[in-house]
């Protein structure tokens, strides 16, 4: 910008004198380099040799030992291994090695940890309201079942001995269907959905995101 005001017409920010003062003469300009610098530039000087004495050897060994210890302890978190579906002979041994480590939990002073990190943390999740806790619900449910039972009895009377089993299945299915419908009608909100968590899908999905604060 400075150059523009003085009307020198040069497009560089430095004047000729300044360039000269910097040690750049006319025609001294280095050719423009268009390639990026090399990823691994050559070292101009050789690095100093590292001293290797008994103490250093000792430290190197101790370090490797510590890393090895960590790798074998549960502190080294391993991913759940995905298999490509091809069975191999070596799988047996690999799985054995995995299993040996799987059940182990890091040995910590749990009192110093927040509850969510403690091993029983999964069981300490807030218990959800169960559907049948309400006495009214229980009554309703019982009535429903009673009704079904009477229906079932009449059906059974009509059925012949041969297709009894088949019928039974059908009825069971009907019953389940009805139950489900009944449930859904229950109070119309999604609270009525089956929230029972047997802990099976705990591993693969985080299902209590909604418990956490939203930032």
């Amino acid at each position: 910008m400075a150059g523009r005001g003085r009307g020198r017409g040069s497009n560089t920010s430095l004047t000729q004198e300044q360039m000269q003062a910097l040690g750049i003469a006319r025609g001294d300009n280095a050719p423009q380099i268009l390639a990026p610098p090399p990823l691994f530039p050559k070292l101009e000087t050789k690095p100093l040799p590292l001293n290797s004495d008994a103490a250093t050897d000792y430290m190197v060994i101790v370090k490797d030992q510590f890393i090895e210890y960590l790798h074998e302890s549960p502190a080294y978190v391993k991913a759940n291994r995905e298999t490509d579906g091809i069975e191999r002979y070596s799988d047996k041994y690999k799985l054995l090695a995995l299993d040996a480590n799987k059940g182990r939990v890091l040995d910590c002073v749990w009192a110093n940890f927040p509850p969510e990190l403690r091993p029983q943390a999964s069981r300490m999740r807030p218990s959800r309201k169960r559907k049948l806790d309400d006495s009214k619900d229980i009554e309703k449910r019982l009535q429903l079942l009673e009704k079904k039972e009477t229906q079932e009895n009449t059906n059974e009377m009509m059925a012949t001995a041969g297709d009894d089993n088949k019928k039974q299945d059908d009825i069971d299915e009907d019953l389940e269907d009805e139950e489900e419908q009944e449930d859904e009608i229950d109070d119309g909100t999604d609270y009525a959905n089956n929230y029972f968590d047997n802990g099976e899908d705990y591993e693969d999905e985080d299902d209590n995101l909604d418990d956490d604060p939203v930032y």
Binding site: S52, Y58, P114
Partner: protein, 499 residues
């Protein structure tokens, strides 16, 4: 909290605790503190694995948690992650200073991170029960443990305090009380280690080790500058310093010569005792300012100037780095600028005794690498276009140290990376070697014939053996370089420690 530090921390975590911990650690590093759910969201890992990783991080003091109400946020402690590299040095220090028992105790404690005294001692005793040449007994172990606790190499871990109505513990630092361990109880515990009910936990006090490292550096510096006896005097001074002032004080309280004389009598060096005053004089005048005469009362008083010492050592480190990176001529310019404080470009050229162009080039190179800074001064009165501004070059030591530290981080990262590359490239051969070694070890244990052992050994072909030897050498070199870099980092951090 720089980019380089982040890369290094991730690399270390990867190497020590695996990729999943690395992911969690890196996530925490980038965002500061976070609750679990956010980590799960941003890393895309299953919740169980995040929890496991956090356990690992918390166990080894690599992360901490902060409770705000019912929520718990986790935060990574990068400086503690860097200490993982320093573990071997702690062990070496213990081994050379206090012997094998102390080394074993510290090693086990580093591995367990926190452990109760009884369990720790019992584990070690049981582990080396059959080892005849170590000849450990629970009594010597106990004594060593107590002396380590007295010397503050180990300290009590913080204790959890639970407030009413909340489940989240609040960690409170407690003063270390040297335990009174009962030998008989220990013996009993050794027999059945399951029912140990010791709930006072211990951990390694890194700071105490760092004080030791600092002392060693200062003593070594004196020894090299003057002679062994001067080093000994320095050691006595530091010993006295611990009695009267804070460990990391910039300048110690005045230490009377009479006290030094008293403690020098205990050492068996006659030379030291006879010439103590001379040595102190020489060290004061020619000891680069490590000590300072504080007064004449009581036959003279001296202060240890740790801050000055740190500054001098750091300057030396920087000189060294510049020399190795840009050559001795650049180092000369660097020293010149530092000596003159603020200096103009022309003056550098005059004083550095280098050809003009080369001098300029090197100065700019130094500037480019941020070893030196430039301060423009403009004369506002003169408006003429040809008027040049004055540029004063100077060394901002604090910034230069930061730059140097970044370099250390970068090269540590590179080393670790190179190592990983090397290991993955030769993974197959290394695996094979490991397997052969285990087999041979097993055969030796079963005392099988040499012939069959040789047969197994020969499964490694000569080219493989050559390759493995080469790889091993390279790996060792990388590890050594890492340790050396850590030494440098220690000095740099020591300087930055003083405000």
């Amino acid at each position: 909290m720089s980019h380089q530090l982040g890369r290094l921390v991730a690399q270390i975590l990867q190497r020590y605790c695996g990729e999943i911990v690395e992911k969690v650690g890196n996530d925490l590093f980038m965002y500061g503190s976070k609750p679990i759910a956010m980590i799960v969201k941003s890393t895309g890992l299953p919740r169980t694995q995040v929890i496991e990783s956090l356990r690992t991080l918390m166990k080894f003091d690599l992360a901490m948690f902060e409770a705000t109400g019912p929520h718990v946020d986790y935060r990574l402690l990068p400086e503690n992650v860097l200490l993982l590299i320093r573990y071997p040095r702690y062990l070496l220090q213990m081994k050379s200073k206090y012997g094998t028992e102390a080394e074993l105790i510290i090693e086990e404690l580093l591995q367990q991170a926190t452990c109760s005294a009884t369990l720790l001692l019992v584990t070690i005793a049981n582990k080396y029960k059959d080892d005849k040449d170590k000849n450990l007994t629970i009594v010597t172990l106990k004594d060593t443990f107590i002396s380590l606790a007295t010397a503050a190499y180990i300290q009590q871990a913080p204790v959890a305090e639970i407030k009413e109505g909340s489940e989240i513990p609040n960690l409170v630092q407690v003063a270390t009380i040297v335990p009174d361990l009962d030998t008989r109880a220990l013996m009993q515990a050794m027999a059945n280690p399951v029912d140990i009910k010791d709930n006072i936990y211990w951990k390694v006090n890194y700071d105490r080790f760092h004080q030791d490292f600092r002392d060693d550096i200062m003593i070594k510096a004196m020894t090299r500058r003057i002679d062994d006896t001067a080093g000994e005097v320095m050691r006595l001074l530091l010993q006295q310093m611990y009695l009267s002032s804070a460990a990391w004080a910039e300048e110690s309280n005045a230490i009377p010569v009479t006290d030094l004389r008293e403690s020098s009598r205990l050492t068996d060096k006659i030379l030291l005792h006879h010439h103590l005053e001379h040595y102190l004089k020489v060290m004061e005048e020619n000891g680069a300012g490590f000590i300072r005469r504080a007064g004449d009362a009581g036959g003279g008083q001296y202060c240890v100037q740790a801050k000055v010492a740190a500054k001098l050592l750091v300057e030396d480190v920087l000189d060294h780095v510049v020399t190795e990176r840009l050559g001795s001529k650049a180092a000369r310019i660097f020293r010149l600028i530092r000596a003159k404080k603020y200096v103009e470009e022309e003056d550098i050229q005059k004083n550095a005794m280098l050809p003009n162009k080369e001098c300029k080039q090197l100065t700019y190179k130094l500037l480019e690498e941020h070893f030196i800074s430039v301060q423009p001064m403009r004369k506002s009165q003169q408006v003429s276009g040809t008027q040049k501004g004055i540029y004063l070059y100077h060394v901002k030591l604090f910034e230069a140290v930061h730059v140097c530290r970044e370099m250390c981080y970068a090269s540590l990262h590179n080393l670790s990376r190179a190592r990983r590359q090397l290991v993955s490239e030769h993974g197959r051969a290394l695996d094979k070697q490991r397997r052969v070694r285990t087999i041979v070890h097993g055969m030796r244990m079963r005392s099988e014939t040499e012939e069959s052992i040789n047969d197994v050994l020969e499964t490694l072909t000569p080219p493989e053996v050559n390759l493995l030897a080469q790889v091993e050498k390279q790996l060792k070199q990388l590890s050594t370089a890492e340790l050396e870099l850590d030494r440098n980092l220690f000095i740099l951090n020591w300087y930055l420690h003083y405000p």
